[in-house]
């Protein structure tokens, strides 16, 4: 049988890409001294970066959810003038490069009177840990809202109307019917936002700075150690980031699709 040229070409591309990524992902392990690598995993710096990253990403994700759930619900259920414009506007933070977002945040907190007031009298943000959370929040919140809105869009309004006829007020309906029905989608949105916050670099660098053992998240640590040519740490940090990304992905798939396959 004559070989199907189209299939051969398609599969070759697939294999090429797979080989490329496999090589890239395994390079740190192969081309770095194993002792350096092992030592790096238990070094103070890596452990600090890991815990700071987890802490800040969790904070920013939680804040993102608390703000995002009501906003997404309003966008999903309510009709009002200018809704299309607002929805379009919310797409912008997703598209803006994080580093540009970070610079704009820096200017806001360092030059804008309102920002300066917050920075000086409420909580120190510029070049401090809260700045990491603000930077991550700025980068992930629009995405969180978008994902949450899609989740609420997927809960038919019919369920809520039926619940109203039982005697539930709008708020009660939201708490007892809509949220439980949206559970999976909300968790999925949270996971994706968390993974994105964890990997956030550009905005964090601009607003919180790259201070060792202070505002050193995993990506910042990666940058600092590369600049200092500490390959062991760099490899270890890359692995940790790769690992958490895979973890978040698997967890999201299991949640949303009840298994690893979509």
């Amino acid at each position: 049988m004559k070989p199907n040229v189209f299939r051969v070409v398609v599969f070759s591309f697939l294999i090429l890409i797979l080989i490329f990524f496999i090589c890239v992902f395994t390079s740190p392990a192969i081309f770095v001294d194993p002792w350096q690598l092992a030592y790096a995993f238990i070094s103070d710096e890596v452990r600090f970066a890991l815990s700071l990253s987890i802490f800040t990403a969790t904070c920013s994700t939680l804040i993102s959810l608390v703000i995002g759930i009501p906003v997404a619900y309003a966008l999903s259920r309510l009709e009002f003038r200018g809704k299309t414009v607002i929805e379009g506007f919310l797409d912008v933070p997703i598209a803006v490069p994080p580093v540009a977002l970070g610079v704009m945040l820096l200017i806001f907190f360092a030059r804008n009177p309102l920002g300066m007031f917050i920075n000086e009298s409420v909580v120190r943000i510029v070049f401090e840990v809260p700045g990491i959370i603000v930077a991550q929040l700025a980068v992930i919140s629009a995405l969180t809202i978008k994902l949450l809105k899609e989740t609420f869009d997927g809960v038919p309004a019919r369920y809520e109307r039926v619940a109203r006829t039982f005697g539930y007020t709008e708020l009660e309906t939201f708490l007892y019917v809509t949220l439980p029905a949206a559970k999976r989608g909300i968790l999925g949105a949270a996971l994706i936002s968390w993974a994105k916050a964890l990997g956030e670099f550009g905005a964090t660098l601009m607003l919180a700075g790259a201070t060792r053992f202070k505002t050193e998240t995993l990506p910042i640590a990666l940058y600092l150690n590369l600049v200092a040519a500490d390959l062991g740490n760099v490899a270890a940090l890359s692995f940790i980031l790769l690992f958490t990304a895979c973890l978040a992905l698997i967890a999201t798939r299991k949640l949303l699709y009840g298994g690893l396959a979509i």
Binding site: Y159, R161, V162, R164, T165, Y168, T169, E172, P180, K183
Partner: protein
């Protein structure tokens, strides 16, 4: 009852408070609920696809409704569950139920909130014919029982004539957002009050002009054909434009002018000649299209009749209609 798009669902949503109304009032048990939100109206609503809450068991679904019922004890809840025969479904997830089971759970859930009125929006549209039969025979009885025990009235919408006939105590026919006629099923079937209803029921509807009225006897010109009607006392005196309604079952076809039905001897009769245009089966009856020149009539004949009189397309037939079976309505002028 009414065709798709006539506003049945909108009407139910307005009664439940899920849609704002432009004018008018909604009064339930003597209380004006027009300005009340849905949660205060005590109206149960079951949409056509039942809207059972996903990712929950049947028990949880019913519990959510029961939590909000006032004055309903666990005993009453048990009675409802037994009545709808869903005791053995309580631990099942709603996704695993068949359509018929979903329907019963949805009705039980709506009743568990102890509503004063229960609204069922096309409850049989998602069911296959045997399950529809079950609804007509059993569930209908359950709902009447629910009314007896809990005082819950039921409003049921459908576009299926048979269903309406089997289920309804009283029927309202809707068209284009308006209620055309309310009455018992027999009243509506015997005396449709408008052209729309007569057409919806599948009757022959003809426009005509009155030629003469005398003592309840009318002669109407329906387009170069004159029909005589009897017993139309409730028409205005000087009426000119009218609608003539004839049920397909009241049209008798015969190969000769001789009156077929012996019972008709002595009654005034319309005898017209026409040509058979086509024949088709509808359910268990045979429908025949007869062309009378400017007028077309649909007749319904018993399949047995075909054994005696072989009606064929293209054949000439005599159409016999008793004058008392011809209904004449004044034409409505929309304001």
């Amino acid at each position: 009852m009414g065709p798709n798009g006539c506003g049945k669902t909108t009407l139910l949503e307005c009664i439940a408070g899920l849609q704002k109304i432009d004018s008018g009032k909604i009064i339930i048990n003597g209380i004006d609920v027009t300005d009340l939100p849905p949660e205060k109206r005590r109206v149960g609503y079951v949409p056509a696809d039942y809207a059972l809450f996903p990712n929950m068991t049947v028990e949880r679904n019913i519990q959510l409704a029961f939590k909000k019922s006032k004055g309903m004890g666990l005993n009453d809840l048990q009675r409802i569950i037994r009545l709808l025969q869903i005791e053995n479904l309580m631990n099942r997830s709603v996704e695993s139920l068949s359509s018929g089971q979903k329907q019963r759970v949805a009705i039980a859930r709506a009743l568990a909130a102890k509503p004063d009125v229960l609204l069922l929006d096309e409850p049989c549209s998602a069911l296959d014919p045997p399950t529809r039969e079950v609804f007509r025979r059993e569930i209908c009885g359950m709902l009447k029982e629910a009314f007896r025990q809990f005082g819950t009235s039921v409003i049921h919408t459908t576009h299926d004539l048979l269903e309406a006939r089997a289920v309804g105590d009283k029927i309202a026919i809707m068209s284009d957002g308006r209620i055309e006629q309310i009455g018992s099923i027999e009243t509506i079937f015997e005396n449709p009050s408008s052209k729309f209803i007569a057409e919806f029921l599948g009757y022959n509807v003809l426009d005509g002009q009155v030629i003469s009225i005398e003592d309840g006897r009318i002669s109407v010109d329906v387009g170069d054909t004159i029909l005589n009607a009897e017993g139309c006392g409730n028409l205005p005196e000087k009426v000119k434009d009218v609608i003539v309604v004839i049920k397909p079952q009241d049209i008798i076809l015969s190969p000769t002018r001789e009156i077929v039905k012996s019972k008709w001897k002595g009654c005034q009769c319309n005898i017209l000649v026409g040509r058979v245009k086509g024949m088709y089966m509808e359910g268990s009856a045979v429908k025949v299209d007869v062309d009378l020149g400017n007028v077309n009539l649909k007749a319904e004949i018993n399949p047995d009749y075909l054994d005696d009189f072989n009606v064929k397309p293209g054949a000439t037939v005599f159409v016999q209609i008793k004058a008392s079976r011809v209904k004449v309505l004044a034409k409505h002028f929309e304001v």
